[in-house]
């Protein structure tokens, strides 16, 4: 029953790909770089598929493979152990599956790039860390993956390092993530201090053994972990890095900043759900953060003109949904939405990439239009994704978003109703901005007659088609079956069995909200495009506020960045660095020079003087040793004897 699945191969194959391409890629021909880059994730995918045979034998999960000791000091014992359970299996299938598709797509998208090998090396590195993060059986190993995906993300955002904006965006992502990671680390320390272990299963059993343990330190731990999750998953208040991360290549945005890495926070909360379950306060905070982020980012997304930025804010908003799901303890619904979101958002980004590719790098939607006939495959796949994300009936997000909204509505109290309402409003906003993007891009007349769009090659369109199919059918498994499957990992929510009538009403309302969003977009951007143009010159205050993204970047710049810069400049640079450290260094150097000037006289180069000093030294030593024997009887011994 406990057969060896060689789970360690899942992360290690991409790592080997990273090493090969990273070290030798510059000298290898492109075909070999491509095959290495594709074989690595394919191998991982095959291992995952092989492991998924176990996924349907509930009694053999969780399947733990311990690779050895990592830290073993007295009371602290941390293994290198990888865990396959329902939760990590679902995540692995998403990561390696979608990841593999995006690798294929990248072959076409990045074909002309000079740093082709570097790109794939980084992409493989990302898969390595992401699978480590998901497979980790203890929080410390997860933290390694957590930091690692941050590194890969930084490297890929700044892939075009000649562009200042890309480099700045990479730095911003890294720094903002560090703030979140700090919270995660504090959470780890608190876990260690209170449970003296970091293994998820041990912590879970220790908490389970004490039914009375509620709130208190668990709330503190949960909130610290939440800070980490808001950093990685781009939630309020740490979401600011994700829209800027769009400076990276589009497939990277699809893989890292939409489908996989940014969902790590949701995964982490689901993985540590036993902590959150014991802290109603922390759960409410998660739900409120999620709902607030969802509606906040959706409103910004309404007025963005860069096609990728619309999708970026949409990602932030959808991640907010997942947090909302986690916050009402509907972890399986959150993971369900995570899965469907991975499909349709990866598709949206890849299709947007295909549009950008077709237009020779144009990202401004105001200069697109009329592309429906010219790039039909991209158009149809994008349509599937837009319908899916808008909650069109029987598309994937229809099921998953619905599950989250229903869970919020039935989570009890007026808070649940408010959360549900915010979710529905967000659904309407989502439908509006997605259809706005759709109409602006594909309908009407071309607003830039200079370019001659062309459909992307098959290596790019095939992944699009596969993802489009997944976006449509991804939700058909149904929330009930999915929830039941995940229950051993994340627990089944014990809320009252939802009244089927209420559920139908909620579903209809959510679909209606989406329809309203679509209708407004249709009126403004298709039937009468001039109404949208009419908005811009008038620029009502609300529009201005949204177009400037609520001035959050400016506020952060003024409140946090500027004071730190001033402090660094005047206190740290001039006082600490120049005056104190510089002075100390100068002093030390001066002393050393002075001593050297004195001692160098000894270094005469005259052999006999060396020998004389040697002999003198030996004589002194000898005298010192012999003195007690010679004078011992008279003076010295008597004194030491204490008379």
């Amino acid at each position: 029953m406990n057969e060896n699945l060689h789970l360690w191969l899942i992360p290690l194959l991409p790592f080997a790909g990273f090493l090969l391409n990273g070290l030798l890629g510059r000298r290898l021909p492109k075909t070999i770089v491509t095959s290495i880059a594709l074989l690595a994730p394919l191998g991982s995918l095959l291992v995952v598929l092989n492991a998924s045979r176990l996924g349907f034998q509930a009694d053999s999960l969780p399947h733990v493979e311990t690779l050895g000791d990592w830290i073993n000091t007295g009371t602290l014992h941390i293994d290198f152990n990888v865990v396959l359970d329902q939760l990590s299996l679902v995540m692995l299938l998403i990561i390696t599956g979608v990841g593999f598709l995006i690798h294929i797509y990248s072959v076409g998208y990045m074909h002309e790039e000079e740093g082709y090998w570097r790109y794939f090396a980084y992409l493989n590195l990302f898969l390595f860390f992401m699978t480590v993060l998901v497979l980790a059986g203890n929080a410390l190993l997860m933290f390694v993956g957590w930091e690692g995906v941050g590194l890969a993300s930084y490297l890929l955002i700044g892939f075009w390092f000649q562009k200042t904006s890309a480099v700045d965006a990479g730095k911003k992502a890294f720094v903002v993530n560090r703030i979140g990671d700090f919270g995660f680390l504090i959470g780890l320390f608190l876990l260690l201090a209170n449970f003296s272990t970091l293994s998820f299963s041990e912590i879970a059993s220790k908490i389970a053994a004490e039914p009375a343990m509620m709130g208190g330190v668990l709330t503190a731990i949960a909130l610290c972990l939440l800070i980490g999750a808001t950093g990685k998953s781009a939630q309020l208040p740490l979401y600011v890095w994700l829209p800027d991360a769009m400076e990276g290549p589009t497939p990277v945005s699809a893989l890292i900043h939409a489908a996989t890495m940014v969902t790590a926070g949701v995964y982490m909360i689901a993985r540590t759900h036993f902590i959150f379950d014991r802290s109603p306060f922390a759960l409410s905070v998660v739900a409120i953060v999620g709902a607030a982020t969802a509606v906040f980012a959706a409103t910004i997304g309404l007025v963005q003109t860069d096609i990728k930025r619309v999708l970026a804010y949409s990602t932030v908003s959808q991640l907010g949904y997942m947090f909302l799901g986690c916050g009402v303890a509907a972890y399986s619904a959150a993971i369900f939405h995570l899965m469907t979101h991975a499909f349709f958002k990866a598709l949206l980004f890849l299709a947007a990439g295909s549009v950008i590719h077709a237009l020779g790098g144009e990202q401004d939607m105001r200069k697109m239009g009329g592309l429906r006939k010219k790039i039909p495959i991209t158009f149809w796949t994008m349509t599937m994704a837009v319908c899916a994300i808008s909650g069109f009936p029987f598309m994937s997000a229809f099921f998953s978003k619905d599950a989250i909204l229903a869970a919020a509505f039935t989570s009890g109290g007026s808070l649940g109703k408010v959360l549900w309402f915010v979710g529905v409003v967000t659904a309407a906003l989502t439908a509006f901005y997605m259809f706005r993007l759709w109409y602006l891009t594909f309908f009407g007349e071309s607003r830039n007659p200079d370019v001659h769009p062309h459909e992307s090659p098959a290596v790019m369109t095939v992944p699009l088609v596969i993802l489009a199919i997944l976006s449509v059918v991804g939700g058909w498994i149904g929330m009930e079956r999915f929830g039941a499957y995940l229950a051993p990992s994340v627990g089944a929510r014990t809320a009252e069995a939802a009244n089927s009538q209420i559920e139908i009403v909620l579903t209809v309302l959510a679909v209606l909200a989406g329809a309203v969003g679509w209708y407004i977009a249709h009126r403004m951007y298709h039937r009468r495009p001039e109404t949208a143009d009419g908005l811009v010159p008038g620029t009502p205050a609300g529009y201005n506020l949204l177009a400037h993204k609520y001035y959050v970047d400016e506020i952060y710049g003024f409140v946090i960045v500027k004071p730190i810069l001033v402090l660094s400049k005047y206190l740290l640079e001039w006082v600490v660095d120049v005056a104190i450290l510089g002075g100390l260094a100068w002093l030390l150097g001066g002393i050393a020079t002075l001593c050297g000037a004195i001692l160098q006289r000894w270094q005469s180069g005259n052999l006999r003087s060396y020998a004389a000093w040697l002999a003198l030294g030996a004589a002194v030593l000898l005298a010192f040793v012999l003195a007690p024997y010679v004078f011992g009887a008279t003076g010295i011994d008597m004194r030491w004897a204490g008379h």
Binding site: S604, G605, L607, R608, A611, A615
Partner: protein, 109 residues
């Protein structure tokens, strides 16, 4: 009776040590005041042998063989050192045509 006879006729320990010390000091003085490399080299040999003498003396005094074994080591190392040292001296002489130690105080040839 036999052993008593031996003891009575034995040269006292101090004599050996004094001889050793005198030889050693001669070696030091020779090393310090002579300018010729070969003479200095011989002075070193003198010092080594002075030490050897004291080793043997103490070995005899304490009836332990360790000191004598040590002497063999010293002689062996001295032989090796002589081989290397003389080779260097020859090389120096070929390069500089002098063995006066004051004249060869530079690292560069």
């Amino acid at each position: 009776m036999n052993s008593l006879h031996l003891v009575q006729n034995e040269v006292p320990l101090a004599w050996y040590l004094v001889l050793s010390a005198v030889l050693f000091c001669l070696g030091i003085v020779g090393f310090l005041i002579k300018r010729n490399l070969i003479t200095m080299f011989m002075s070193i040999e003198l010092m080594l042998n002075a030490v050897n003498l004291s080793f043997v003396t103490f070995a005899h005094q304490w009836h332990q063989v360790k000191g004598q074994i040590f002497v063999f080591f010293v002689m062996m190392v001295a032989a090796a050192e002589a081989a290397v040292g003389l080779a260097i001296i020859i090389a120096v002489f070929r390069a500089r045509a002098t063995l006066a130690v004051d004249r060869i105080d530079l690292m560069k040839l």
